[in-house]
């Protein structure tokens, strides 16, 4: 079933590229392809039995000699993320309805991207996972390069180099690990790590390998020192691609941590928890404060997504810093908070980028100073924009708040001071988002913008699922949290130890 989900988009992509007449109808094919796989994914997630562990497992021998097999399965961790991809992919295809030139290459690349994402989230064997991990990179690179804004070349290249370097480090680390432990399988590795085989085998290399593996994910999330690729890449990418990047790609980094680093190197995280915590904190503050000074709306959103994703990492590292489980099981709450934040931010950020993109399409420029007083001209746009801003701001009863409250309540119990500082960033987020609204929607409208046309109902419909979802997550998050409840519980106890 999962293989079907993973490979349907690619088939659609091939159909677009290869079938003779497919060039003109690439859009509907892409939509249909992504819809089918997303419906299947949703069906799978709905059918996910909360009690059991790994389900929908498909395991085939791929390269038996070195223990590489095609191992796919859904457990608590990736159920939510599969759902995220499933929800976002049709919306992203719809969002790119306006792409005209070189449409079929665009849509085939996009579909390949979706396949890579499905694959990356469902893979349970490092080798197979790594292939999809890299595969996700390539189409993104080309999409940015070919269809991005005017600074796209540099952005695409730095995006590519950073992530590839990181993944090379990770690959080396994992290969070394494979050499020592003899297995690529995440589940096995987790078991080995649990009964101390990994740390004993690696001996004094443990630190280095831990660092190497973490580096690949570090760049992807991105965390503080290696984050400079993220903002230009998100800003220069075309709107749907930036939706993919913020919505799902950054979550791959966090997912990687939860899937790879946490179960296999729990001691590593515990040992270096304070450094890691500081880094996460710096990234949070970094994102927030940089966003303050930006005028390009997509850059602001990019930095804000840097900040939001850093919350997840902050939660994970906070769990690492915990010593033992107290009565409120803070590690579990923090980890669940991270999971929910991934999902919520994915939805929210994607919506925000879409709306920001619409501003660029309609208004022609990305600089918020060029606009003003749009509130009167485009009330519906203002409403949707405001709604999404407040959701990412962390307004209660919206997605942002639910995740953040979990993270903070969990993290505060573990590391109060850091969390307090992290809250500072909340304030900064509020400031820069509200300045955007103030700059764009209030005050006198520029004379040139008198003729700006309101965004059509259809465009609002495109992201209506996202809006509805933000409210659902905000009001009643348990439906989403149940999916990962059991898994996170075991994982957090493993990490908090």
């Amino acid at each position: 079933m999962i293989t079907a989900i993973t490979f349907i988009p690619v088939l659609a992509a091939l159909a677009i590229l290869l079938l003779p007449g497919a060039g003109r109808v690439s859009k509907p094919i892409a939509l249909v392809g992504s819809l089918i796989s997303s419906l299947l994914a949703i069906y799978v997630v709905i059918g996910f039995n909360l009690e059991e562990g790994l389900q929908f497992v498909e395991k085939y021998e791929w390269i038996p000699s070195i223990g590489v097999d095609y191992y796919v399965g859904i457990d608590g961790l990736n159920a939510l993320l599969i759902l995220l991809v499933a929800i976002l992919s049709p919306i992203i295809v719809l969002a790119s309805w306006k792409i005209k030139d070189k449409a079929n290459t665009y849509f085939s690349l996009l579909l390949i991207q979706f396949t890579a994402l499905y694959g990356a989230f469902t893979a349970l064997n490092f080798f197979h996972w790594f292939i999809f991990w890299e595969a996700a990179l390539v189409p993104a690179f080309f999409l940015i390069k070919l269809y991005g804004g005017n600074g796209r070349h540099k952005a695409a290249i730095s995006f590519f180099i950073f992530t590839v370097l990181g993944s090379v480090a990770m690959l080396l680390g994992m290969l070394f690990l494979y050499l020592k432990t003899g297995s690529f399988d995440f589940i096995e590795l987790r078991q080995l790590a649990a009964d101390g085989v990994v740390s004993s085998k690696l001996g004094d290399w443990y630190g280095w390998i831990f660092l190497a593996v973490m580096l690949g994910l570090w760049v992807k999330v991105p965390l503080f020192p290696l984050h400079s690729w993220q903002a230009p890449a998100y800003a220069e990418a075309p709107v749907p691609v930036s939706m993919v990047l913020t919505g799902v790609m950054s979550k791959m980094g966090v997912y990687g941590f939860l899937r790879l680093v946490v179960p296999i190197f729990p001691e590593g995280i515990r040992e270096h928890s304070d450094i890691l915590l500081n880094v996460a904190l710096i990234t949070i503050i970094w994102g927030a404060f940089l966003a303050l000074r930006q005028t390009d709306i997509k850059k602001v959103l990019a930095y804000s997504s840097l900040n939001h994703v850093a919350y997840c990492m902050f939660a994970i590292f906070a769990v690492g810093a915990a010593n033992g489980i107290d009565k409120i099981n803070a590690p579990a709450i923090a980890m669940q908070g991270a999971m929910l934040q991934m999902f919520a931010h994915g939805v929210g950020a994607a919506g925000l980028f879409y709306i920001a993109g619409k501003l660029e399409d309609v208004g022609g420029s990305r600089d918020i100073q060029d606009f003003g007083g749009l509130g009167a001209i485009m009330p519906r746009y203002a409403f949707v924009f405001g709604f999404l801003v407040f959701s990412s701001l962390g307004l209660p009863f919206l997605a942002g708040f639910a995740a953040e409250i979990l993270i903070f309540s969990g993290a505060f119990a573990l590391t109060p001071i850091h969390t307090a500082i992290a809250l500072l960033a909340l304030l900064a987020t509020a400031i820069f988002l509200l300045t955007i609204i103030q700059r764009i929607f209030t005050g006198q409208a520029h004379d040139t913008h008198g003729d700006l046309k309101e965004i059509s109902i259809r465009e609002v419909m495109v992201i209506s699922p996202l809006l509805v979802l933000t409210v659902c997550i905000g009001v009643y998050p348990t439906t989403w949290l149940n999916l990962s409840n059991r898994f996170i519980e075991t994982l957090s106890t493993l990490l908090a130890g």
């Binding site: 730095s158 209660p396 979990l406 809250l423 909340l426 209030t442 409840n485």
Partner: protein, 668 residues
């Protein structure tokens, strides 16, 4: 959570915030015309009022009794974060007050905003505000309270910035939201701390809740957790920070005067009755925590007192009618805080009622004042500067009279509602802390003074603005009269209210101290007479210098500029904030440069490799080199293959010779 069973449990309390929510959603999505939206909002609010009165009636009899109904919001790994509703006398009274005054304001604004084409949107925001406020009041879980608290913040942002085409309004909205947001951070930390310490968010959870005596005792046990406060005290202080933010106490008061940018009903609703009250309500709600730590109460008193004095001083030098009222609200709130703090110190459990009663009375007469001001402004052709008004009394009889009633209540003229509530505060302040008493007393004096100043400016003399002043329509004046009646007569029912508000101990301790009574009389009458003395015959034109200003020009100047509070923030907080941002972006630039340098190095290395090694070594030397050698060598023998027949033969013979010689030598 059974919303629909109205039997004993208090689940139905949730209906109170939900009704306006439904109205809000309906208004937002369907966007009906102005009149219809007003009807929808008012209807929803009347339903909530009904429930509120039912709740108020429920608590009338048995004060100390608290009914709760909790349900889990998120359940993680055995730990569940719960929401809940609570019904005790505090909730009941607040519900009644908020919904009643809200209704009056809704009706008032129905007419006030009738010309505005975005009236539907206005009532939607108002409904959202009521959702937040009512939700806040009924919340039993501190998390839920916080969430509604933020909803109130959002609503205030939307309402202040309603006329967003005015840049000042938008800026004010943003400023309001952010300042309250700072306060909220404190609140959030408090909340998290509570959760960390107690493991639950609920106030009353069958003995385990935060406000239950057992947990408070446990909290209070570890002393000197932070800044000399014990466990409970820390949480209390952090919660108080939230209150300071919301109620505009001293450090975070800057947003309140600017909030006047919003339409008058908004100012009335927010800055008189409800929103500002939320802060005080929070302190009241979490009073047991405060009681557990006297230091916390000390903080409360001091901040309250200073705010009162500070705001009162600024109010003297203001010319905008709404701004004066705003500052008076700030100072009154300070007094309420003093009431609570001093009450707590003086009569422990009873302290709540003192602060809360003043809140109730203040809500009424301040709402009256604001609405009155609204109708006066409306009458004077939307003119807000008092120097351009005057002689309104003759034109707008009803509004003026109602306004005067509100003024005397505010000045705590004997036997008005203000007198009863303020008197108690002064009494407890006398008990608790002499200096705070004198500060609050002086503040009250100033209050009386600037209110009379304002009345003289507005009502006496002749009309200094253009156009003609006309009385507001009945829809506006009727609520004024009702409020006036309440403002004046509520005092007599005070005794009963005190009883109700003492939900903690259930009994009301009467404090009586003759000197304090005399002082309060002097304050009230002295202030008014002083005001009349100075301003009765003063020239109050736009260009005339304010009499007080003539006396002490420079300090008056300071006051005019609101004691440079904004500028102070500008210099300190914002500059720091901007510096931090600048520093970070500088570092970011540095990192970016480092990255660029790194990639340059890498590409240089790459270049080196591709350049030297690849090009020179491999291309030239080895690969191309060999090719060239081969080519050259081929050239050589090509030289031979030049079609010159003899050449070939010669070579053949030469070959033969060589072979022959070899054969000779070898075959020997």
């Amino acid at each position: 959570m059974n919303l629909f069973d109205f039997s004993d449990s208090v689940g139905w309390l949730m209906w109170i915030p939900i009704c306006p929510l439904i109205a809000g959603v309906v208004l937002a999505l369907l966007k009906p015309s102005g009149k219809v939206s007003a009807m929808v909002a008012i209807a929803a609010l009347t339903v909530s009022l009904g429930f509120s009165l039912k709740a108020f009636a429920g608590t009338w009899g048995h004060e100390a009794h608290t009914l709760t109904h909790n349900f889990t919001w998120i359940q993680i790994a055995g730990v569940n974060l719960e929401f809940g509703v609570v019904l005790n006398s505090l909730t009941g009274s607040m519900l009644a007050m908020v919904s009643f005054i809200g209704l009056l304001i809704f009706i008032y604004s129905a007419s006030y905003m009738s010309q505005d084409e975005r009236m539907g949107r206005f009532f939607c925001y108002l409904s959202i505000f009521m959702v937040g406020m009512l939700g806040l009041v009924v919340a039993n879980s501190v998390l839920m309270l916080f969430m509604f608290w933020e909803i109130v913040g959002l609503a205030s942002y939307l309402l202040i910035g309603f006329w967003f085409h005015k840049p000042s309004a938008a800026a004010a909205a943003k400023k309001a939201f952010i300042t309250t947001r700072i306060g909220d951070l404190g609140f959030l930390i408090g909340l998290l701390w509570a959760f960390k310490a107690t493991g639950t968010f609920l106030f009353f959870d069958g003995g385990v809740g935060i406000l239950e005596s057992s947990t408070i005792a446990a909290l209070a046990s570890n002393t000197n957790v932070l800044w000399g406060l014990n466990g409970a005290g820390v949480i209390a202080v952090f919660l108080f920070i939230g209150a300071v933010g919301k109620s505009g106490q001293l450090p975070l008061h800057v947003w309140l005067p600017d909030a006047m940018e919003g339409p008058t009903p908004v100012s009335a609703l927010i800055h008189a009755a409800t929103m500002v009250a939320a802060g005080v309500f929070l302190v009241a709600r979490a009073f047991p925590l405060f009681l557990a730590d006297t230091a916390a109460l000390e903080i409360v008193i001091w901040i309250g007192g200073l705010t009162a004095l500070f705001a009162a001083l600024i109010a003297i030098a203001q010319y905008d009618i709404k701004r004066i009222l705003a500052y008076s609200t700030v100072s009154q709130l300070g007094l309420m805080m003093v009431g609570l703090g001093a009450g707590g110190l003086a009569i422990q459990d009873g302290g709540v009622s003192i602060g809360m009663f003043h809140l109730l009375t203040h809500a009424f007469f301040k709402a009256l004042l604001f609405l009155g001001a609204g109708s006066i402004i409306h009458g004077c052709g939307d003119e807000q500067d008092i120097r351009l008004m005057g002689g309104v009394f003759s034109k707008m009889k009803i509004s003026s009279l109602a306004y005067l009633a509100g003024t005397i209540a505010l000045c705590a003229f004997p036997f008005t509602s203000g007198y009863f509530s303020k008197d108690q505060i002064l009494l407890s302040a006398w008990e608790a802390n002499k200096t705070v008493f004198w500060i609050s007393a002086f503040a009250s004096l100033l209050t009386a003074f600037y209110m009379t100043r304002q009345c003289c400016y507005v009502f006496l003399g002749k009309y200094r603005g253009e156009g003609h002043v006309h009385e507001s329509p009945p829809l506006m004046t009727v609520p004024l009269v009702i409020l006036a009646v309440f403002a004046l007569l509520l005092g007599y029912v005070s005794e009963h209210f005190y009883h109700v508000l003492d939900y903690l101990s259930g009994v009301h301790v009467h404090q009586h101290n003759s000197t304090v009574v005399i002082i309060s009389w002097i304050i009230a009458l002295g202030g008014i007479s002083l005001g009349l003395l100075v301003y009765a015959r003063a020239k109050m034109g736009i260009d005339d210098v304010d009499p007080v200003k003539r006396l002490m020009t420079t300090p008056y100047g300071w006051l005019e500029n609101r004691l440079y509070a904004d500028e102070l923030y500008q210099l300190t907080a914002f500059k720091l904030w901007g510096a931090l941002a600048k520093a970070i972006s500088a570092i970011e630039g540095l990192i970016y440069i480092m990255v660029v340098v790194a990639t340059a190095i890498v590409s240089m290395i790459g270049q080196f490799f591709s350049g030297t090694i690849d090009k020179k070594l491999i291309d030239q030397v080895s690969f191309d080199g060999t090719c060239k050698r081969i080519y050259e060598s081929s050239q050589i023998n090509a030289f031979i293959q030049n079609g010159f027949l003899q050449g070939y033969l010669r070579i053949v013979t030469a070959g033969a010779v060589v072979i022959g010689i070899l054969f000779l030598l070898l075959a020997r």
